[in-house]
């Protein structure tokens, strides 16, 4: 009698009971996730998120929705809060204000392990004393997944990432690219809803970086998981993303498809940050017209083909942004709506093409030409561009006009 009473009292705390309870909870969660998917909720939702340490505000009332299966890249200069935002989504940093939802489930106060996320870190963060196999299974063992299930999932993951021969090695015996592959595998093996990448390729050399970039893209196409990817490398951002969120000082400056951010930056910061070599900025006086035009000293750039935002063309100080790659030279240049003859000051061969520096309206101005066109310093050429494909910003606020 006494024995059974004790059993009854401790049974809710026994290991099997706990395992059963977590299994039941995760089954319930899985069902909720199914209904959430059907209802079309965003995979990750950040609502009015703020984070500050003392007086320093790191994230400032940030809103962000990531659709199911979307590849979203958080892009920005260092210190803009992109990694912090990712860590908040992962639950590694407590937020000051706001909410975070994953598949409709409010996870603001939940532990990282309960958020159904996998994370890949810049420094790989592999457990050095464990073999690759133990590294992969660590999360599953923590969650008390049965042994044969662990074996099955490791086999599947190793096959996807082609790391089968490495399974019994220690991380110190792997190269950088292999390590990062294992780190991705560690997220993959856990069957998570959302993958979080924190600058995963920054520690690799240029060749490996481009290889793994392609591999991540392939992985995303294959798995169709939601991925949030932090980087400061705009090439990674442009090539991988479905949408890019450009961040600066804790705020999202622009959220949109890569080509949209490239061709129609919403402000001068985004325009300057995206694109390499950097966009040229020429400041001048806007004449509302009609037809509208920009006066750069003695020069006049016609803006009749430029698509103004709702505000339209009011007068005032403005900055015209032209990408070096949208400038043409010679006869091709003279055919453009705006053209001018300039003297070449510096020539920078970059392999595929050549960057040429000159002065336009007293400002340094760069443009790209084919590497075959052998321009010499001091030579005079006609350059031209289409102002319809340029960007115009208010000089004071930096906002696109």
């Amino acid at each position: 009698m006494a024995g059974s009473l004790v059993d009854k009292l401790i049974s809710p705390f026994s290991r099997t009971a706990r395992a059963e309870r977590t299994a039941r909870q995760s089954a319930e969660r899985a069902q909720l996730r199914q209904t959430a998917r059907k209802a079309g909720v965003p995979s990750v939702s950040v609502r009015d998120l703020s984070l500050s340490f003392g007086n320093v505000s790191v994230l400032d009332h940030l809103d962000l929705d990531v659709a199911d299966g979307e590849f979203l890249v958080l892009l920005g200069p260092s210190g803009c809060g992109k990694s912090t935002l990712l860590n908040c989504i992962a639950g590694l940093i407590d937020v000051t204000d706001g909410q975070i939802f994953i598949n409709g489930w409010n996870v603001t106060w939940e532990q990282p392990k309960d958020r159904h996320i996998g994370m890949v870190f810049q420094s790989y963060a592999l457990y050095p004393q464990m073999t690759v196999r133990r590294n992969l299974s660590f999360g599953l063992r923590s969650a008390r997944v049965p042994k044969d299930e662990i074996k099955r999932r490791i086999a599947r993951t190793a096959e996807v990432l082609q790391i089968e021969p490495l399974l019994d090695r220690k991380p110190s015996q792997l190269s950088g690219g292999q390590r990062q592959r294992v780190a991705i595998g560690r997220a993959l093996v856990r069957d998570v809803d959302v993958f979080l990448f924190d600058e995963p390729l920054s520690n690799l050399d240029a060749k490996l970086r481009s290889e793994l970039r392609v591999e991540i893209k392939r992985l995303h196409q294959k798995l169709a998981n939601t991925m949030v990817y932090v980087t400061h490398d705009q090439i990674e951002a442009m090539t991988l993303a479905d949408r890019i969120a450009v961040m600066k000082s804790g705020q999202i400056q622009q959220l949109g498809a890569p080509h949209e951010i490239y061709s129609r930056p919403v402000n001068r910061f985004v325009a300057g940050f995206i694109g390499s070599p950097q966009m040229n900025f020429l400041s001048g006086q806007l004449e509302p017209g009609p037809p509208p035009a920009l006066r750069l000293g003695d020069l006049r750039v016609p803006l009749d083909r430029y698509a103004f935002a709702e505000g339209g063309a009011a007068g005032g100080h403005c900055v015209l942004g032209i990408r070096p790659e949208s400038v043409a030279i010679g006869a091709d240049g003279s055919a453009r709506p705006f053209s001018h003859e300039v003297e070449i000051e510096i020539v920078e061969p970059m392999g595929a093409d050549t960057l040429v520096w000159t002065k336009l309206a007293g400002t340094n101005f760069a443009f790209l030409v084919d590497s075959e066109s052998r321009l010499k310093i001091g030579e005079r050429v006609t350059i031209g561009f289409d102002p319809g494909r340029a960007s115009l910003f208010d000089e004071a606020t930096g906002v696109r006009l």
Binding site: P112, A125, G139, R186
Partner: protein, 313 residues
């Protein structure tokens, strides 16, 4: 393109360049005996002898009989080697009423040192881990208090500790002393562990959290396996410190439970009878053997641990 400037071409016009071309190449020769080396090694050898001399005197004296010692040649090697003093020091020398030599003190010291080292390291490593990785509210205040604690001289706390131990009925027992040693080891050990764990990349800790490991899971499965060197350092610091302790041993225990150091003092400083220098020397060496052994057994790991704690994991 034919006349790119070259050293060979220039040598024909400026002859001194050909002398330069024939000059030194490859590694710079390093003669074994230079004035600098002689000075350096000379100083080192002299210093080593200076520090080894007392040890030499102790060893030779402990191997002499009393008649030979009375001759007064303290540096001369023993004529008639005897191990009698060693046996006496270990098993029959008298302190107070007990005449079972240092052996009693040795076992007391073992019974004090082993639990103190284990307890203090167990607590301090978790302290350091919590302070380094789980920045809980008030962590900085806690840490500051702990460090300030290490600057207060021990002597100030002797009497309060006596009262505390008396009130919890542990005064005069081995466990009381174990607690005292663990408490006094806490600041330096916590600092040691905290600094080491801080040097382990934070991302590793974050990865383990995402993988679902909790406070203890991360400690036992991730942090501890990576921290062998610092555990060795802690063991050495604590073992030598606690083994060599005299003050706490004499205050917080009673004659039956005196550690080896206290007993050594009682043997050496006994005021009755003849001063048996050979027994005293043997007893002193016996007492010092344990820390020496610990150091030699794990010296390499010790150096590695100190270096790892200082730079990076």
């Amino acid at each position: 393109m034919a006349d790119r400037p070259s050293l060979e071409a220039a040598a024909s016009r400026a002859p001194w360049i050909s002398r330069q071309l024939a000059g030194p190449r490859g590694p710079k020769p390093r003669p074994a005996l230079t004035r600098r080396n002689a000075f350096l090694y000379g100083t080192l050898i002299v210093l080593a002898l200076y520090y080894l001399l007392p040890l030499y005197v102790m060893v030779v004296t402990s191997l002499k009989g009393m008649p030979e010692i009375r001759l007064g040649h303290i540096f001369s090697p023993p004529v008639d080697i005897t191990f009698e003093p060693w046996v006496k020091a270990w098993s029959t020398a008298c302190t107070g009423l007990n005449c079972d030599g240092l052996s009693r003190g040795f076992w007391n010291s073992v019974r004090i040192t082993v639990p103190s080292v284990a307890l203090s390291i167990a607590i301090a490593s978790v302290n350091g881990y919590a302070l380094a990785n789980w920045r809980f509210k008030g962590a900085n205040v806690f840490f500051t208090i702990l460090i300030v604690g290490s600057f207060i001289p021990y002597q100030v706390m002797i009497y309060p500790l006596v009262i505390i131990l008396r009130d919890i009925r542990l005064y005069g027992s081995l466990w009381g002393l174990v607690i005292v040693h663990s408490v006094f080891g806490m600041p330096i050990l916590t600092l040691l562990f905290r600094n080491y764990f801080t040097s382990i990349p934070e991302e590793l800790f974050r990865a383990a959290r995402v993988d679902g490991a909790g406070f203890w899971g991360i400690y036992f499965k991730i942090m501890m396996p990576m921290s062998l060197p610092i555990f060795v350092v802690a063991v050495i610091i604590q073992t030598t410190g606690i083994w060599n302790d005299f003050l706490f041993g004499v205050i917080y225990t009673k004659p039956d439970l005196y550690p080896m150091t206290v007993q050594l003092n009682n043997i050496v400083n006994s005021s009755q009878g003849v001063k048996e220098y050979n027994v005293n020397m043997a007893a002193t060496i016996l007492t010092g053997v344990v820390p020496l052994f610990v150091y030699f057994a794990s010296g390499k790991l010790f150096v590695r641990g100190i270096a790892a704690g200082a730079v990076k994991g």
